[in-house]
Every structure is written in structure tokens, then in C-alpha cells.
């Protein structure tokens, strides 16, 4: 009884066989059921639908991005523990480690995808949604509905990647699975398709957000705030979004070609029939390198804000920082070949891209010196964000140095795809991106939730993250030089075992650090009365978001402030803050909630699921429904509502307490 017309290649044989994956495959639905049961018990479904699922308020969308990212951080660290415990056990027992090779390969592929797409990009969009509109004096983003739709695409992609645990497994080709390994010839299963569609859906969501934030920064700044009076975080977001706008289409194109290869047996990247796998490597890294700058530039922007506020001093060399950001934006599109120096290109090609890669190190170095000289002659408060900054400078500098080392092609021939490379990119991503985002969570938490996070626990968490990072990744540098290649699931060189064991201990220390973060949030919620932020300006800030009450009201600014110079709020406080008069309040227009963002995103998820399992009818039905709802949204003219001045005045008085 061939049911493939109905269920494509779905079947029970795709259920997991490995004990660890079975555990996850049972655990995850159970957690989902617990959430559903809680919601039903407390009758919170309408609240969830009205306040969260259909919201277009950037701050709420930011909170949702944050929740998904923290959940995925926990899963990502869980994957990391599995990997390091496996390699440590493989060394000690001399056997094959804790898991089968296929499971091990799926775990590090999922670890890569989840950490980059759902933790790093997720936290980035969480923080941008929360802080950017407030910082540039805007009421909301330029396209609120598009913001909701982008988030739900991101959430649907997250569900897809986690559902692969329950049915079908994930790709085992690494986070950027090179063909021919991920082509039909060597990986016919649904795992690679899960990987393709997860990246495709998340990628489209990111691209739409990129457009959204560029227009927000260009056309929604407060009156008087010229580009050169904008906070540096806003500059880093503008430049990051330009990179997103130009790089993510290349990812969409490359994944579409790979999907065509797998669905309709075309020959873009197959090794036979004229296909060229090297073109995949070339294209995926033409997106890949701008992607890592997309991750790190907001981190630079965050630290520019934090250092300036914590040292109570204007950021040193504002113009140079903006010039450095622009230089990084341009050069990040000229270096991608350093990811495959060893593929066989000629000396001229390697030398050119190597030199371009080194040139990027100059503006990055300049930024670090500018931060250091912002601390010089300042009055530094060692709050948790500042501790994260000190850890960032120490760690990121090592990462930058190993990066310059690997920029020389001749050296890269010896360290490419070894644990030296693994240590380098963890150095720049954990040391740079993760430290910055954890600092930013502590920094902007009171603005969104109205109470601060507990300082002591925050510092301990930072301490464990820093020690855990050093123990986990410094041994990998040494292992890389000893010939240990990356993604090893077993090795027979007893000399390496102590290194892998120390690295395993390091990962446990990082887990302790992450655990301390969860404890910190829980404890701060418990103690939110004493940690309440009454003034709306807990850190004595310098930018506009600290002029609003905490938690920031849904309309952000009752009256959009006039901006005359950089660090507007700092100088307003020095000259004495003028309170708003009754006549300043005007009617304001805000976007209406819309469920279509969620609905269309779910349909896109179904389309992807249909494509993974070759359920052709599901693909056709969901595509037609997508077009229908898109047209309905396109033609919908009634998308805004107004708040009369009287009501606004009352709300604002209430919020200011």
C-alpha cells in the first residue's frame, strides 16, 4: 500500500535509534505539553494570542527573540557538553566514545547551526528590537508587521531544527555541509533537507529584518539627530544591516541551488555531469564571512555604549569608530576566500585574499584602542556589563591575533580545519559576540522589565564563563598544532587525552556560567521589588532610551524628543531635564496587531516540512495559502489606530509614576 502520494517519504523508520536522541525526542514534546497544560490551566491562551503572538511592538518581539535564543543557548551548550564528554571518554577508554559516529556528527552540525543562527542572530535581533527604536528616539520600527513576520519565520525555523530530533535526524555534514557529502549521492536522507530548510527560512526572516532596520535608522530618527549625532550602537546596527541586506541573498541563492540539486536532481554542485562543488564552497563563504561580521559588529556597538556609560566619559574618537565600522563593512566582502586557501587556488589568489584579511585587522585594532582610551581618565563603575567588557578585550584580542596568523596562506595550510581553527572562531564568537550580548542583556534588562539583574550573581557567571572559555579552548590551540583535526570523534594518540579532558572540564565550567545566568534571572525575578529601577536610568546613561520610564511604555516616547548633540540624554541631565507640558502631548498613531505574520510563517514552515518529506500536496496547498494571505495583508488598509492626546497624557503620567 504505497502511501507516498499522501505522506511522501515519512515513515516510522525515521524515528531516532540512539539513546541520547531518544531522550531528547521524548523530552522536548513533554516540555511543550507542560507549557500547553500550564497555559490551559491558567487560561492564558487569549492573553498569549493578543499580547504576544499577534503583537507588532518591537520590544515584545525583542523579548520573544530573547526567550527563543536563551532556550537555544541551553540546547547549544547541551550539544557542546555531549561533544566534549564524548571526546574525553574516547581518550580515556581508548574506545569509540559515548555516541555512535553518526549521532556525534549530527550533534556538532546542530550545535553549529543553533549557536550561529538561533543564539547569536537571535540575541542580536532581540537586543536590536529592544534598544534601537528607543535609542534613536523612534516610536517603533519602520515596518512593524514585517518585524512580527520576520520573528515568526525565525521561530518556525527553530521548531523545524528541533523537530528533526524527533523525526528524521539532522544533517551530518557540518554547519556549512559541503557537497558532495551533502548532495544526493552521499546523503540521500531527510537530515540534510532539515538543515537546508532551517537555514533558508531563518535566512529570509533575517533578510527582511535587515531591510526593516535600515529604513528605521534612515527615516525614523528623532528630529535633530543627524547620522553623526547617532549613538555608535545605532551605527553598528546600520552597517550590520547593510551587510545582511547584501550577504543573505547569496545564502538564499546557494541554499536554493542545493535544494534544486536534491529535489529535482539538478547538477549545480554534484561531482559528475559538469557540476562544481567548489562553486558551493565559494558562494557559501561569500555569505559566510560577511555573516561573522554581521554577528560581531553589533557586539562592538554594544561595548562602545557600555564602556562610555560605565566610565562616565564620552566615547573616544567617535568619528574614527564610525570610519572603522565602514571600513570593516567594505572589506568584509573582499576576504571570503581565506576560508578555503587549501582548496588549490594559485598563489596570487591566496596572497590577495590573505592580505585583504589582514587589512581588516587594522580597523578592529583601532576600535579596541579607542575603547581603552575611553576608559582613560574616566571614573569606571565595575558593574557586570563592565566585567563582561574586560573579559571581552582579553579574550577577543587573542582571537584577533590567531586570526591574523591564519590570514597568512602559508600558515593556514598547516592549521586549516584543525582544532586551532576551532579554537580561533570560538575565541572570536564566545569572546566577542556572546560576551557582548550577555553584557547587553544585563545592561538593557531594567529598561524592558523594570527591575535590574542581581549584580553579584552576574559577576560570578562572567567569572565562570571566562575560566570555562580558557580551559575549554586554549588546549584546542595546542591540539591543533599537534595535528588534531576538527570534528574528530575518535583518536588513538594517548598524548592528546589530557588536552581533551581539560577541554571537557572547561565546557562544564561554561555550563556552570550559563547555569548562573539562569539562577541570576530567577533570583532577580524573585527579588524584583528590591531591584526595582524607579528612575528609568539605572546606569546614569547617556543615550535617549534612558530618558523613558522603566519598563518602557508600549509607545516608547509620548513626545518624540528633540536632539541637538551626541549623548543627548547626558547633556539634558546636566542642563536640568525639562518636564513635558500638557500641551506637548499630541495624538499619536500606532500600528494594529496582526495575526497574519504568525499565520504566513507557519504556512512557510509547513511548505518546508513538505519539501523535506516530499509531501508534494502539502507544498502546493501551503504555497497557495501563503500567496492568498500575502495578498490579503497587502491590500489591508486598516492597519493603524490612534491614541488621543488626553489618553496619552494619562498613560504617560501613570507610567512615570
Amino acid at each position: 500500500m504505497d502511501l507516498s502520494w499522501l505522506i511522501g517519504r515519512l515513515g516510522l523508520e525515521h524515528l531516532p535509534s540512539e539513546p541520547a536522541t531518544i531522550g531528547a525526542a521524548i523530552g522536548m514534546p513533554l516540555m511543550a505539553l507542560a507549557v500547553v497544560a500550564g497555559l490551559t490551566y491558567f487560561k492564558k491562551w487569549t492573553w498569549l494570542w493578543k499580547e504576544w503572538i499577534t503583537t507588532v511592538d518591537a520590544k515584545k518581539i525583542g523579548i520573544m527573540y530573547g526567550i527563543v535564543s536563551v532556550l537555544m543557548l541551553i540546547r547549544g551548550i547541551g550539544d557542546a557538553i555531549m561533544l566534549r564528554m564524548h571526546t574525553a571518554a574516547a581518550g580515556i577508554t581508548g574506545g569509540d566514545g559515548l555516541f555512535q559516529t553518526d549521532t556525534f556528527q549530527q550533534v556538532f552540525t546542530a550545535h553549529g547551526i543553533i549557536m550561529i543562527f538561533f543564539v547569536a542572530m537571535g540575541l542580536m535581533f532581540a537586543l536590536i528590537n529592544i534598544a534601537l527604536p528607543l535609542m534613536i528616539g523612534a516610536r517603533d520600527v519602520a515596518f512593524p508587521w514585517l518585524n512580527s513576520f520576520s520573528f515568526w519565520l525565525f521561530a518556525v525555523a527553530m521548531i523545524l531544527v528541533n523537530f528533526s530530533l524527533v523525526l528524521g535526524g539532522f544533517s551530518n555534514g557540518g554547519w556549512l555541509g559541503y557537497p558532495p557529502l551533502t548532495s544526493l549521492e552521499y546523503s540521500p536522507g531527510p537530515g540534510v533537507d532539515y538543515w537546508l530548510w532551517t537555514l533558508q527560512i531563518a535566512g529570509i526572516g533575517t533578510l527582511l529584518s535587515g531591510i526593516n532596520f535600515i529604513v528605521t535608522i534612515i527615516s525614523h530618527r528623532a528630529p535633530g539627530m543627524t547620522l553623526m549625532k547617532m549613538p555608535v550602537f545605532a551605527w553598528s546596527v546600520l552597517i550590520t544591516m547593510v551587510l545582511v541586506l547584501l550577504a543573505f541573498p547569496i545564502l538564499t541563492a546557494t541554499l536554493s541551488m542545493m535544494t534544486l540539486d536534491r529535489l529535482f536532481e539538478m547538477h549545480f554542485f554534484t561531482s559528475e555531469a559538469g557540476g562544481n562543488p567548489m562553486m558551493y564552497v565559494n558562494l557559501i563563504w561569500a555569505w559566510g564571512h560577511p555573516e561573522v561580521y554581521i554577528l560581531v559588529l553589533p557586539a562592538f556597538g554594544i561595548f562602545s555604549e557600555i564602556v562610555s556609560v560605565m566610565a562616565r566619559k564620552a566615547l573616544f574618537g567617535y568619528k574614527t569608530m564610525v570610519a572603522a565600522l565602514t571600513a570593516i563593512m567594505f572589506f568584509s566582502f573582499l576576504v571570503w576566500q581565506h576560508h578555503f586557501f587549501t582548496m588549490g587556488a594559485g598563489a596570487n589568489v591566496n596572497a590577495f585574499f590573505g592580505i585583504m584579511t589582514m587589512i581588516i585587522a587594522i580597523p578592529t585594532g583601532v576600535k579596541i584602542f579607542n575603547w581603552l582610551f575611553t576608559m582613560y581618565r574616566g571614573k569606571i563603575k565595575f558593574t557586570t556589563p563592565m566585567i563582561w567588557f574586560l573579559c571581552f578585550v582579553a579574550t577577543f584580542t587573542i582571537g584577533g591575533v590567531t586570526g591574523v596568523m591564519m590570514a597568512v596562506p602559508a600558515i593556514d595550510y598547516q592549521v586549516h580545519n584543525t582544532l586551532f581553527l576551532v579554537a580561533h572562531f570560538h575565541n572570536t564568537i564566545i569572546g566577542g559576540v556572546v560576551f557582548a550580548f550577555l553584557a547587553a542583556i544585563t545592561y538593557w534588562f531594567p529598561k524592558i522589565f523594570g527591575f535590574r539583574l542581581h549584580e553579584g550573581l552576574g559577576k560570578i557567571a562572567a567569572y565562570f564563563w571566562q575560566i570555562g572559555f580558557l580551559l575549554a579552548f586554549m588546549p584546542l590551540y595546542a591540539l591543533g598544532l599537534m595535528g588534531a583535526v576538527r570534528r574528530l570523534d575518535n583518536y588513538d594518540n594517548p598524548e592528546w587525552t589530557p588536552f581533551f579532558v581539560v577541554s571537557g572540564i572547561g565546557v562544564l565550567a561554561i555550563t556552570l556560567g550559563a547555569g548562573m545566568l539562569v539562577v541570576q534571572i530567577a533570583y532577580s525575578v524573585y527579588k524584583r521589588k528590591t531591584l526595582r529601577d524607579k528612575t528609568g536610568d539605572p546606569w546614569d546613561g547617556r543615550t535617549l532610551e534612558w530618558s523613558t520610564p522603566s519598563p518602557a511604555p508600549f509607545y516608547n516616547f509620548a513626545v518624540i524628543p528633540k536632539v541637538t548633540r551626541r549623548d543627548e540624554w547626558w547633556y539634558q541631565k546636566l542642563d536640568g531635564v525639562k518636564s513635558l507640558k500638557r500641551s506637548d502631548y499630541k495624538d499619536i498613531v500606532l500600528p494594529k496587531n496582526s495575526s497574519l505574520g504568525f499565520v504566513i510563517a507557519v504556512l512557510v514552515g509547513l511548505f518546508g516540512f513538505g519539501a523535506i518529506w516530499h509531501v508534494w500536496w502539502l507544498m502546493i496547498v501551503s504555497m497557495v495559502a501563503i500567496i492568498y494571505f500575502a495578498i490579503r495583508r497587502g491590500l489591508d488598509d486598516d492597519v493603524e489606530y490612534t491614541i488621543p492626546a488626553v489618553e496619552l497624557y494619562r498613560l504617560d503620567k501613570e507610567a512615570r509614576g
Binding site: F333, A345, G346
Partner: protein, 121 residues
């Protein structure tokens, strides 16, 4: 009630359309009648014509010449075009160079294949 502006803008569209048709016809003529012979010269000529037509269309049809001061659309168009060139030319340079080094690019493969057939493999 035809405004003077209405006819002015319409004439711009007609002018733009006419120039585009001429440029397309020119490129077609270069290729069909081998004006510059087979090879690089023709390819460069028709690419230049294509670039010219793209500018003409952007100017007349997309009204890029009338944009207000900060000219965001024109700036982003030029910047994206540079990035497109970097990606396309960069990819061609990198992958062609690798194919050449492995002297097994598809076209060389065809040559190699012929030579192997001669040896009776």
C-alpha cells in the same frame, strides 16, 4: 486636460523606451553579424551596451535623476552594483583559477576526454 508636465514626463518615457530599443538592437546586431568577430571583443561590446541600457532605464524609468538631496536610492544602487561586481568577478576569478590549477575544468575535461579516447581507453 493634459498638463504640460504630463506630456513632458510621457515624452521622457518615450525617449527612454526608444533609446533602450536601439541599444538592444545594436547588441543583437553585433552578435548576429559578427561585427567584432567571435570572441572577447564582441562580449565586451555587448556587456557595455547592457550596462549603458541599465543606466538609461534607471535614469528614465526609475526616476533616479530626480531624487531629493541625500539620494539614498542612487547611493544604494551604486554600492550594490559594486558588491555585485565583487561577488561575480571574485567568484569567477577564484573558481576559474582553481579549475585551471587542477586542469580539470569542464572544458579541459572535454579536451582530456578526447585525448583519452584517442588512446583507446
Amino acid at each position: 486636460m493634459k498638463h504640460k508636465e504630463y506630456t513632458k514626463i510621457r515624452d521622457r518615457y518615450i525617449y527612454g523606451f526608444f533609446v533602450s530599443v536601439v541599444l538592444t538592437g545594436l547588441a543583437y546586431w553585433f552578435v548576429v553579424s559578427d561585427v567584432f568577430g567571435v570572441g572577447i571583443a564582441t562580449a565586451v561590446a555587448i556587456l557595455l551596451l547592457a550596462l549603458l541600457q541599465a543606466v538609461v532605464q534607471a535614469w528614465y524609468f526609475l526616476h533616479l535623476d530626480e531624487e531629493s538631496k541625500p539620494r539614498w536610492k542612487t547611493q544604494s544602487f551604486v554600492f550594490t552594483f559594486i558588491m555585485v561586481l565583487i561577488i561575480v568577478v571574485g567568484s569567477l576569478w577564484v573558481v576559474m583559477n582553481m579549475n585551471y590549477n587542477m586542469n580539470m575544468g569542464p572544458s579541459d575535461m572535454r579536451q582530456y576526454m578526447i585525448e583519452q579516447n584517442k588512446k583507446g581507453f
